[in-house]
């Protein structure tokens, strides 16, 4: 299921990422995908939509779906705080470049991950679905979760969206 899109490591084993927080855990997505970081703006609820992409926002005159990764990792929906942001990324959905917003509790920085310091997600000892995680990157005693967005979106928007939040 992992694709070329997800293998963004350069020759020397580096990956430039944007790190952000959800419920105190740090996540990272490839910096190349990121188009813009927005303050939280009013969101339109789409009745009947999959829980993970339940909203729409107006991003510079374009209607962009808003994805909530909190659900994918079993976090509670958090209120909007001073630090809340929407990360607009360009994502290849079924071969079509699609803009999508990700809800983040806090956005940190653009940084570089080293492939040598990453591990695949362990099969046990984790609350999260293993297939949603591309790898874990160790960093100053803690770790950063690199989610597999393609897998998450495929499952989250698919017909079996109901099984999405199982743990």
């Amino acid at each position: 299921m992992t694709t070329e899109q997800a293998s963004g490591w350069d020759d020397s084993g580096h990956l430039q990422v944007l790190t952000f927080d959800m419920q105190g855990e740090t996540f990272a997505i490839e910096a190349g995908m990121v188009r813009e970081i927005l303050d939280r703006i009013p969101e339109t609820v789409v009745p009947g939509a999959p829980e993970m992409v339940g909203g729409l926002v107006n991003f510079r005159g374009r209607v962009v779906p808003l994805a909530d990764l909190h659900k994918a990792f079993g976090f509670d929906r958090t209120g909007i705080t001073m630090d809340s942001r929407i990360i607009v990324i360009e994502f290849d959905m079924h071969g079509e470049a699609t803009l999508v917003g990700l809800k983040a509790d806090k956005v940190h920085e653009v940084t570089v991950l080293e492939k040598a310091a990453t591990e695949t997600a362990p099969r046990v000892g984790m609350r999260w679905r293993q297939d949603f995680i591309r790898c874990l990157a160790k960093r100053s005693g803690d770790f950063i979760v690199v989610p597999d967005l393609e897998r998450i979106f495929t499952v989250g928007c698919g017909a079996d969206a109901a099984s999405f939040t199982q743990h």
Partner: protein, 661 residues
């Protein structure tokens, strides 16, 4: 962006030429003696050959040459445009299309096509005596329009071409050359007289001038006429007189002279006023106009809140301009549907050949205009419908006679505008759809429970179900269902609707109702809970109030009585699970999908809203109650209701409720 690929230019041009040839051939099928059409087919072939060679499409050029040769003979009256020849050229046309798309495509069946073409031609020549190749002497006088040099005509190469036909003596006629002071060096004042001895026919001489013949003066007369052509002698006096023409070649010329001025006039304004623009640029422009509309509605909102009269008047001015701009933009994108209908004549021709049926194809309302993108997307569904009508709907000639109908089956394709919609109908006079069999099949496939009461319309709608179409046997039974779900999907993608009606034994009719344009709709903005939604105005019939009393009473049954008919209604608040309390004065918006009327209960009607439709992304592909979204004046996003799907979803919800009880 501005760089244009020459081969792309050629591809576009060749498409048009091929289309022109095809239309011409199909016209000839009905009227084989129309020399005007023969000439236009020949010219198109000739141009295709020429520009093909110019752009390096050698294979195409070489192949086209053979077809051109065949038509040249028809043009000269040496052969007739028999169905066999037309069929052979039509088949060759497909090969030419492939060659035009891929210059280095494999020769493939090219040889076989040429063989059949040759056979068709040979079969012809038995009926018409070949022209005796006798050497004759012609006197040719011609003068070119003054601006011919500017337009790129080279008199010298014309003369060279004449020389190539035979022995030629060229004299320049210098009578028209003005005084040196009045001489414009870029204009052509010379005329020429050529005495040509050749064994080629007259038309070969005319061919030399084929590209300039419309606006030049050309006289061709025979000197020392051969015995067989004595009657042509009066021509030596100058202009050929109508009624005195004998040989077909002369007739051609005569005809040309009459036709040329007409054609010239008809073509001139076209060339001056039409511009070829890539469709993608139009799409871009439309997007920008859409953005402008959104920005304009924000401006309107801002200006409404101020007391600055200057700002307000500017805002009003911009509102007017923007809406005019939008209207012209829509108009620019409209193309007549004849573009689409033309293609189907070929389809019918092939279907008639393959099935051995006699089919008469009639189109109506070709001037009806639709948005360009809509037309393109209609092609596939219409092919399906027409193929179904001709292939399965119409009976074989023998069966038709048995049923007391005429041997020839009819397929009608009509288009007409009805309000903000265009209705396209495919009508056949075949055997119709067998209701009971459709029903039996649907029960067998588990699409409906046995014994369900269904209206006729509901039964026909079953044909459109995906589960239905995969059943292979249905095509043998009633003949419908192949790919009908594809038709349905495309039409719904265009926000259109399909209506099917049929009379057993007398034929069936499929109506496609398509909105005029895809990008902008008129809508009614409503509020449900905290969300705002747009209902397409074309679906809205009326708005009524739902009093609290009625609301409470209708817990058990969701009906209101509207002018003595019962209208069921859906509470959008419940469907969308807003979790809010209803407004004290709820409204019912009565919508219709053509067949049935349903009320939608909303909390508030906010007003009329002109809406630029933004499609929903793939993330929301599974949500079909909304056909898109739009951005409101305050920058927030509102969803556009898809009334058809909403009604269907409401029905399902009710069924679940009933089942739970």
């Amino acid at each position: 962006m501005s760089h244009t690929d020459p081969s792309e230019v050629f591809r576009v041009e060749s498409q048009e030429l091929l289309e022109q040839i095809e239309q011409g051939l199909l016209d000839l099928e009905n009227n084989p003696s129309d020399s005007e059409v023969v000439a236009s087919v020949f010219r198109a072939l000739h141009t295709l050959k020429g520009s093909g060679a110019m752009f390096g499409y050698e294979a195409l050029s070489a192949f086209t040459h053979h077809c051109e040769t065949a038509f040249d003979r028809v043009r000269k009256g040496e052969a007739a445009a028999t169905p066999k020849l037309i069929g052979a050229v039509l088949a060759a046309l497909d090969h030419m299309r492939a060659l035009a798309a891929k210059p280095d495509a494999e020769a493939g069946d090219g040889e076989a096509l040429l063989t059949s073409l040759r056979q068709a031609m040979e079969a012809e020549s038995e009926f018409t005596p070949p022209a005796p190749p006798a050497s004759k002497t012609w006197r040719i006088r011609f003068s070119l329009p003054a601006d011919c040099l500017v337009n790129g005509t080279r008199p010298l190469s014309l003369l060279d071409e004449l020389r190539a036909l035979g022995e030629a003596e060229v004299d320049a006629i210098t009578d028209d050359i003005p005084e040196l002071s009045a001489l414009v060096p870029t204009e052509c004042h010379l005329a020429w007289q050529v005495v040509l001895k050749t064994d080629q026919p007259r038309s070969a001489i005319e061919d030399v001038f084929i590209f300039v013949i419309d606006d030049m003066k050309l006289e061709i007369e025979e000197v020392g006429a051969a015995a067989a052509e004595k009657e042509a002698a009066p021509q030596a006096a100058g202009v050929p007189e109508p009624g005195n023409v004998t040989s077909l070649a002369d007739h051609r010329k005569d005809h040309d002279e009459q036709a040329a001025p007409e054609k010239f006039e008809a073509r001139l304004p076209m060339a001056g006023e039409t511009v070829r623009v890539p469709a993608s640029r139009l799409d871009e422009l439309l997007d920008q106009v859409g953005e402008l509309m959104i920005a304009q509605s924000r401006l309107k909102q801002v200006s409404a809140a101020t007391s600055d009269m200057n700002l307000r008047s500017v805002a009003e001015e911009i509102e007017r301009l923007a809406s005019e701009l939008r209207d012209s933009m829509m108009f620019v994108r409209m193309v007549p549907i004849s573009q689409l209908f033309g293609r189907f004549r070929r389809l019918i021709h092939d279907l008639a050949r393959d099935t051995g049926k006699k089919i008469e194809f009639v189109t109506e309302g070709e001037t009806t205009e639709l948005d360009k993108t809509v037309i393109e997307r209609l092609a596939d569904p219409l092919i399906h419908l027409i193929r179904n009508a001709a292939d399965h709907g119409l009976e074989s000639p023998a069966d038709r006679i048995k049923a007391g109908k005429s041997e020839v089956g009819h397929v009608h394709l009509t288009a007409r505008q009805a309000g903000a919609e265009v209705v396209i109908s495919v009508i056949d006079d075949g055997r119709g759809i067998d209701r009971d069999r459709v029903r039996a099949k649907a029960e067998e496939n588990g699409l409906i429970a046995p014994g369900t009461t269904l209206s006729d319309n509901e039964i026909y709608q079953l044909i459109l179900q995906p589960g239905f179409s995969t059943a292979s046997t249905i095509t043998n039974l009633s003949g419908r269902g192949v790919g009908m779900d594809v038709v349905k999907r495309t039409i719904e993608g265009l926000r259109g609707a399909i209506e099917i009606s049929t009379v057993e034994g007398e034929g069936s009719k499929v109506n496609l109702r398509i909105p005029l344009t895809l990008a902008i709709i008129d809508g009614l903005l409503v509020r449900v809970g905290e969300g705002r939604y747009v209902i397409p105005l074309s679906n809205v019939e009326e708005c009524v109030e739902l009093s609290r009393e009625q609301d409470l009473r209708s817990i058990g049954r969701s009906f209101i009585t509207l002018r003595e008919s019962l209208v069921p209604f859906l509470r959008l608040r419940e469907m969308f699970a807003t979790g809010t309390d209803p407004d004290p004065y709820q409204k019912i918006v009565v919508v219709s999908n053509g067949a049935e009327r349903v009320g939608l209960v909303v909390d508030q009607i906010l007003g009329h809203h002109q809406t630029v439709i933004k499609p929903l992304s793939a993330f929301h592909a599974a949500v079909d109650t909304f056909s898109g979204a739009t951005i409101l004046g305050d920058g927030s996003v509102a969803l556009i209701l898809d009334v058809m799907h909403l009604i269907a979803a409401g029905q399902k919800q009710e069924e679940r409720l009933r089942a739970a009880r």
